[in-house]
Symmetry: C2
Subunit: 309 residues, 2 copies
């Protein structure tokens, strides 16, 4: 019986791999991502690593239903990658190529969408079918799951929550080339930027002034202790995230928002803050949407990849 | 052979009805909506009218595949209406009840969503599968079609484009109870309100000062002639619509935005204005989305209703 699935989370520096038996992650390991030569070694490396692991574990390939892979770039519904700048990849069918190498069926998706699917399957969104995942890391990513399936978008750009134009008075330019993206205020770098600006424009005392190059975690920690500047930066993040979530609800009216990524380690204070502004800004029909923390951490990608099959 | 379908567009004052043979609207008529007694006569009236029409036209009921109905309120995916304030209706399965009366299969949806489906089938969105309909009338309505199907939302509130919180400095309250909704600046009443404010806060000459209680059409007409105040009001509508469309694209990344409703009679100038701001605010991946005018006018509802089957 084919009861095993392989989940692959391909990142810019590391590839995470996992073997699932039904819902259970029974093995997991990592390899480096070899980006040289336009990333032409990556799929071969993944194949070798899986073959070796199966041999070492004495697992017969006949027992494997297939492999899923999350890719750091747009992937269309036919499993074609449309360029991964980080990896040096152009346009090609990763499903065909990796399936040819591994000799098992392969399904692929964008990494943020795949992580969202993982959280829906066994994480913060478990038991729901219509979920929005918001990942607050160095940037802000997102994934939209409707009726249990990833919404990739016509140009692979659905769930690009981080580039919602929420800030009207922004003067600096986002990585994407626009001004005023959610990512500029709600990411780890965004909240540090906000706090830095607040410190510059005021004489108020703040514990942040005593920390050399403070982090997003420092801002949340000081806010929890009552620091006024840190609290203001957290409020601003919460307000813009709440506005963005209210916009999202007017479009697709989901059941649940799941918030993950490094910044989400701030915990319930973040959920509370976003939920407060959401209730204020959201249309009444959608006001009861749930806000929850992601629970799978860095494993969300391999869970979601395995779930693609 | 069952090759006929009935489309019903139930409004607060009139019910529009149509008979379709394949893609062709072969007959259409209207009756009044009797709202007395909590709207309890409405479905009976619709049934009688259809039965009489079929008799008069000598159409055998065996030829009818079924009827679709658009309802002015939230309808879930099981065909249950969740209250229509305008009609005095509570919660009940309109599909079951109307199907029992007509003795043919019935499918129901929210009227804005159903009109969107009509435009996708044979209107401005023909040939597309992922479409956002924005209806600019007295208020601002919307409908989301993903992969050819209506996205109703978990609470029936998907496509509530008019209540996206886009205006941050709004001081007046929207009909929905919030402040700063798209509807407050992008509807027929919204653009009149914007122009009225601009006239009040400035001494500038404007043809609008010579028109007693001017309309949205007057504002567009004067803007076309170069009136500065009218142009500013049109720009503001275009800017906020462009921002809203950019938000929508970050969420679902559609192929096309179709703009309908009374205000859309302004024509290509409106499409141009919204498209200009959209290109500026949208994430690069979605920037090529198409903007088009709706083409079915008041018939969109019966087209979409027939298409529900």
């Amino acid at each position: 019986m084919k009861d095993l699935r392989i989940g692959i989370d391909l990142g810019g520096t590391q590839v995470k791999l996992g073997i699932f038996q039904g819902e259970v992650l029974v093995d997991k390991w990592e390899i480096s991502t070899r980006r040289e030569d336009n990333g032409s070694h990556i799929l071969g490396d993944i194949t070798d690593s899986i073959e070796n692991r199966l041999k070492a574990k004495n697992i017969n390939k006949e027992k494997i239903l297939g492999a899923g892979i999350g890719v750091p770039g747009p992937v269309d519904e036919k499993g074609v990658v449309h360029g991964c700048v980080n990896l040096g990849w152009g346009v090609f069918s990763i499903e065909e190529e990796l399936s040819g190498l591994l000799a098992i069926p392969v399904k692929a998706g964008n990494d943020a969408n795949v992580a969202a699917l993982g959280e829906l399957w066994q994480g913060g969104g478990r038991g729901y079918r219509d979920m929005v995942m918001i990942t607050l890391g160095t940037g802000v990513g997102g994934g939209i799951i409707l009726d249990g399936k990833i919404r990739a978008g016509v140009h692979g750009a659905a769930g690009e929550i981080g580039h919602m134009p929420v800030v009207y008075d922004e003067t600096e330019v986002c990585n994407c080339g626009k001004k005023g993206c959610l990512e500029q205020v709600a990411s780890a770098t965004g909240i540090v930027r906000t706090a830095t600006k607040l410190l510059k424009n005021s004489e108020r005392a703040s514990a942040l002034r005593t920390i050399e190059s403070f982090t997003a975690k420092d801002v949340f920690d000081e806010a929890k202790k009552g620091d006024a500047i840190a609290s203001e930066a957290v409020e601003k993040l919460g307000e813009y995230l709440g506005i963005a979530a209210a916009h999202i609800a007017c479009v697709i009216d989901p059941e649940i928002f799941v918030i993950g990524g490094g910044v989400s380690k701030a915990g319930e204070v973040l959920i509370h803050m976003v939920g407060k502004y959401y209730k204020e800004k959201a249309f009444k029909g959608s006001r009861e949407a749930v806000f929850a923390l992601a629970t799978l951490g860095n494993d969300a990608g391999i869970y979601g990849a395995a779930r693609l099959l």
